[in-house]
């Protein structure tokens, strides 16, 4: 079946009622970004000397990086394990990762007090800093993601370069440039694909190292020296659920048939990954004897239980059920729970667990912070829709006799 599936642009009407609602959310978020640039971080956020990091780091950056893990997990499966049947989903996953990381970078930018110095880590190094490692890796990986996306751009425009008016004269040379780029990328792409997976493993784990230096400020339920391992394992287990969920949404939104086979195959790989993550998480809890904190009833213990039960145990059980395996809807619900669990885990690590010695007012995100976070997610969805309409991302069945497209590579 997959042999006559081909990625093509999906021309549709861009604005639907849902899209308009999402666009409004995005616009509100952008207004608050503007306010942050004009009036400063203090005016828009509830951040303080006690709570220097809020949801812009905890959700936009930490959860954002984790939920973009679909990119490297599918690249590893499709290209490194060379499972050709998964090539259908590598493109949507790549697009999600590319947009996700772009917004991670933008979120870091608006959270930085001196955003105009964002390039400083490139030349001012501190090898001891986990944040330096995360920063460098994310910058390089973002570049790698853009390079990995380039073949989709060349495929879309080779032989179709049609600039208007004055720029018409560049049409031929631009086409030649695209063809040269395409040939060069075809031969070297494997370098970037492997680099992408390595860089992802590195910064997904270093993101976990980040909070270790906070030491006793962090609640013992989350503070553990194996945080980097837990972050890496949870990122690996959220990659496929992200692809399943997003593929389901795309098929609904564009009125396509859901990729039932691929979704089920991906789903069958989630349970083992989640199981490994859960065993490390619980094993760590037993070894450090932190379960004593679960007897207390407070925000930390409640959030921890929700994170583990609803975010890991329940979806693990669902992914093991044969009925769920057969239903795209069931798979999507299970996938959503995994996404929710990892999202909550990152938020817990960076916000709920953070308990400084002197607190005058506990932290809850301001309307401005929530609007910006929601706005960026909305923008990502809008851009995803636009990209899917313009570029050959989503594969649809091709009827024989369709006009031959520009040859499609394995990448």
């Amino acid at each position: 079946m997959s042999e006559n599936m081909k990625p093509v642009p999906l021309p549709r009407r861009y604005f639907t009622p849902t899209v308009i609602v999402i666009a409004v959310i995005a616009a509100v978020g952008l207004l608050f970004v503007l306010a942050r640039l004009i009036f400063g971080i203090g005016a828009v956020t509830n951040l303080s000397n006690e709570f220097p990091w809020g949801i812009w780091i905890g959700i936009d950056v930490a959860a954002g990086v984790a939920l973009a893990a679909g990119g490297f997990t599918t690249a590893a499966l499709g290209h490194i394990m060379h499972k050709e049947e998964y090539h259908l989903i590598t493109r949507p996953a790549l697009l999600t990762a590319m947009l996700g990381y772009t917004f991670v970078a933008i979120s870091v930018g608006i959270d930085l007090g001196r955003y105009y110095y964002i390039w400083h880590p490139l030349i001012m190094w501190n090898g001891n800093s986990a944040l330096f490692e995360v920063g460098m890796c994310v910058m390089i990986y973002l570049t790698v993601l853009y390079i990995e996306f380039l073949p989709i751009v060349t495929e879309r425009f080779i032989g179709r370069v049609n600039l208007p008016g004055f720029f018409k004269r560049f049409n031929v040379s631009l086409d030649k440039l695209l063809r040269a780029l395409d040939r060069g990328l075809d031969k070297t792409m494997f370098i970037f694909i492997i680099a992408g997976v390595v860089l992802s493993c590195l910064h997904q784990s270093s993101l976990g190292t980040l909070m270790i230096i906070a030491g006793p400020k962090m609640h013992p339920l989350w503070q553990t020296p194996i945080l980097p391992l837990l972050f890496l394992l949870s990122a690996m287990s959220v990659g496929f659920p992200m692809v399943i969920f997003e593929s389901y949404l795309t098929s609904k939104s564009f009125g396509l048939k859901p990729e039932t086979n691929i979704m089920a195959n991906l789903g069958s790989m989630v349970a083992p990954l989640l199981g490994i993550y859960l065993s490390f998480k619980l094993g760590d809890m037993v070894i450090r004897q932190t379960f004593v904190y679960l007897t207390e009833f407070n925000t930390a213990s409640v959030m921890f239980v929700i994170e583990i039960v609803i975010g890991v145990v329940v979806p693990l059980r669902l992914f093991l059920s044969p009925q769920i395996q057969k239903s795209p809807m069931g798979l999507s619900i299970a996938a959503f729970l995994v996404i929710f669990g990892v999202f909550l885990n990152r938020m817990n690590n960076f916000i709920v667990a953070y308990n400084p010695p002197y607190v005058f007012q506990s932290y809850f995100p301001s309307i401005g912070e929530i609007s910006v976070t929601a706005g960026f997610i909305a923008l990502e969805i809008l851009l995803f829709r636009a990209f899917v309409m313009i570029f050959p991302i989503v594969s649809v069945p091709q009827h024989s006799g369709t006009k031959a497209k520009f040859s499609i590579r394995s990448v």
Partner: protein, 305 residues
Amino acid sequence: MINESRRKFLKTSALIGAGITGLSAKSVKAGPKYVLDENRMGVLVDTTICIGCRKCEWACKTEHDLPTQPIESYDDRSVFEKMRRPDAKALTVVNEYPSKETDQFPINVKVQCMHCDKPACVSACIVGAFSKEENGSVIWDTDKCIGCRYCMVACPFQVPAFEFEKAWHPSIRKCDFCFERTKEGKLPACIEICPMEVLTYGTRKSLVERAHQKISLYPDRYINYVYGEYEVGGTSWLYLASKDFAELQFPKLGTNTAPGVSEAIQHGIFAYFVPPVALYALLGGVMWINKKKAESNKHKEVLHE
């Protein structure tokens, strides 16, 4: 002949080895200045003497060009009703706590950066804007800082403060141990102004000795504990008190250095770039084998047909 060539070989390989170690040592050094001088300076704060006049607060603000009320206004003791913390507009503050017995004077505690021997901020800072200097001070370089506030997340004493209200060029502010003054041989501003000689300036080594001397001379006056001697691997500022430090709202910290585990993990993952390069090679190998396998499978299919 054989011997000679062997000697030559050994010599060359030794040279190459030395070159590689030299190189890697250099690349590892890429980071902030961190010196732990044997004669680094420190301050011994005797909280049993402090009368809470807050002259040090005024002197600090004046020295660091921070807006301040006239010195007379600092006699107002109503500020002690609430516990205060250093912030971007006050790099040191004095708090007041009830004493052991009701008829005694209250206890006043000056708070500022502790100038750790192994500072979390120096380790954490993404651009290496913090440094530990020869004289013991932990200072911050405004030209490097990008305002990420990771130092604030890392600091176990919750000291670095950020100018949240500034839209353009906000700074991290904290006590700099009057780095500009001590460079010229002057005393830090708070120490110079203190009328009660609460603050003793000297090498950290001598201050630790002095603190224990004081405790053994006046065992009724002090509890037998020097705060900062071992906390997070030792701090340049040391405290003596008449009652438990926890009651004076000092954080209870272990003796492990703040960045210890974090740096060990970080360097474990990146040990001379061996793990990332090994992972790259491994994945490359797996990719190549799988590709060959897929190609030969296809080839077989073609043959069968």
